[in-house]
Symmetry: C2
Subunit: 319 residues, 2 copies
Amino acid sequence: MARKRTVAAAQLGPIALSESRASVVARLCALLAEARARGATFVVFPELALTTFFPRYVFEDEAELDRFYEGSLPGPDAAPLFEAAREAGIGFYLGFAERVEEAGRIRRFNTAITVDAAGRVIGRYRKVHLPGHAEPQPGRAFQHLEKRYFEPGNLGFPVFEGLGGKMGMLICNDRRWPEAYRVMGLQDVELVCLGYNTPLDHADHEEINVLSGFHNALSMQAGAYQNATWVIGAAKGGREEGSLMLAESCIIAPSGQIVAQATTMEDELVCATIDLDMGRPYKETFFDFARHREPEAYRLIVERKGPGPMLGAKSASEA
Amino acid sequence: MARKRTVAAAQLGPIALSESRASVVARLCALLAEARARGATFVVFPELALTTFFPRYVFEDEAELDRFYEGSLPGPDAAPLFEAAREAGIGFYLGFAERVEEAGRIRRFNTAITVDAAGRVIGRYRKVHLPGHAEPQPGRAFQHLEKRYFEPGNLGFPVFEGLGGKMGMLICNDRRWPEAYRVMGLQDVELVCLGYNTPLDHADHEEINVLSGFHNALSMQAGAYQNATWVIGAAKGGREEGSLMLAESCIIAPSGQIVAQATTMEDELVCATIDLDMGRPYKETFFDFARHREPEAYRLIVERKGPGPMLGAKSASEA
């Protein structure tokens, strides 16, 4: 009763600021063709996969900023990807900057969609955990202005049917937050797809920078294990417009084991044949949530945003 | 402005079913003496550190069960440990089975206390995540009856002042649950102490058993990193009454790096000099909770105990 599927993480090397959408889409199509040749039926592309990682720049002119965003997909530029995927019978996850009119105003989100093998959009996710700043930080070689160019996602962490299983999505920094995986775990997720852009040169602390690869794997492995789900992480890596970004795209099992990993910082496809039932033994023992979780003890997770007073003395005497 | 302290994980090898409390306490005192010689001012002992791991047995007779529990500590048997620690000026974490009269009835908890260098109990924690079963499982070489012999802890996850910092406690299976670390992270915890007994022979799946060491480290490393806190994990390991248990006690930095680890399955002390300020750069950037967390998106964590319906279709159209 194994539910096996061959899936891929389609890593991208750098995208130049001047590179056209058509050129990028041609690269995505080449990775898709390789996925088809290797028997994959689902491909995960990175976050903001159609452009350079533009939050590193300060744009004062809104028209200049707008050129990095999409309205609805597929637009004319991305259409060849959607057509090639449908023709090949391959579904995919794609990250992009979304500009929409909602609630009577223009809104901008860091978004990913999942498209099934028939070309239908079956899932949409808007990044909840925006890193960086809203205002340019003095003295930085590269800015990280996601809080300026996007608002936090307003769709929660939806899980939906796909690949004959239960799928969810995250984007980049989301992967460091156990809450994000857990909300999907509580929907019995079986496969989490996520794309990322992780600059290695924007933290103020070199001792953190050098651990970027370790932290990337640790976060995804823990999220996979603790929710008994597959995770596919696809990077845009390499030195992009001078900014070095982590690559190390990988496919992680519900055991937390890395079963496939990219070794270059360029366009590279990594594949694995995964069994969507593999998480079952974990969900029936260690992570049988219905038997073992104690939600009353977790209330602080939703009652506090940032850290607050210690509860030690009170909890012992006033419980 | 570093706040450096030398701390230790005091791993225990097996405790025989027939071993006396006095004999066990003598072993704890020997580890304490070694800690003193190595300059440590705080020692973490394992979960249920005064007895064999008795939840592997079925006891029908309550009097027979009661001999594994303590009323208040220090009782006469444990007094030498408390005296030696106070005399040495060393604080400690100690796990034990607690039997108390509360709310008009006898209650049993899997408990840990933290004692400061002056011999005062400054923190008490009762294990929230009880693994195993309430009823004996047919066909198992060793039972795991924590749900029979304990009720879930009723003190939450308190953080309290200790070692000139902010301390919290977990016990064994708690370490696999990111909610547990996060509730303490939201109290700005700087050092989490935890003891564990992890049998390698009780899961029904060999492929999970063989990953026990990996899952132990992964869970503690992720909890440390994602909350930018030190974690000290102390095992009772080795083959105890025929049941093989994981050892691999370790001390983990707020970076997630393992800075000290036991290599035997016997009584063994591992020490490290830790800086309680080390988590600060993480708490001011990646894990600046007040800037980056989005509690509204986490509500399912407290609204559901076990997994429920997928929210996919609704979240996109009705958000």
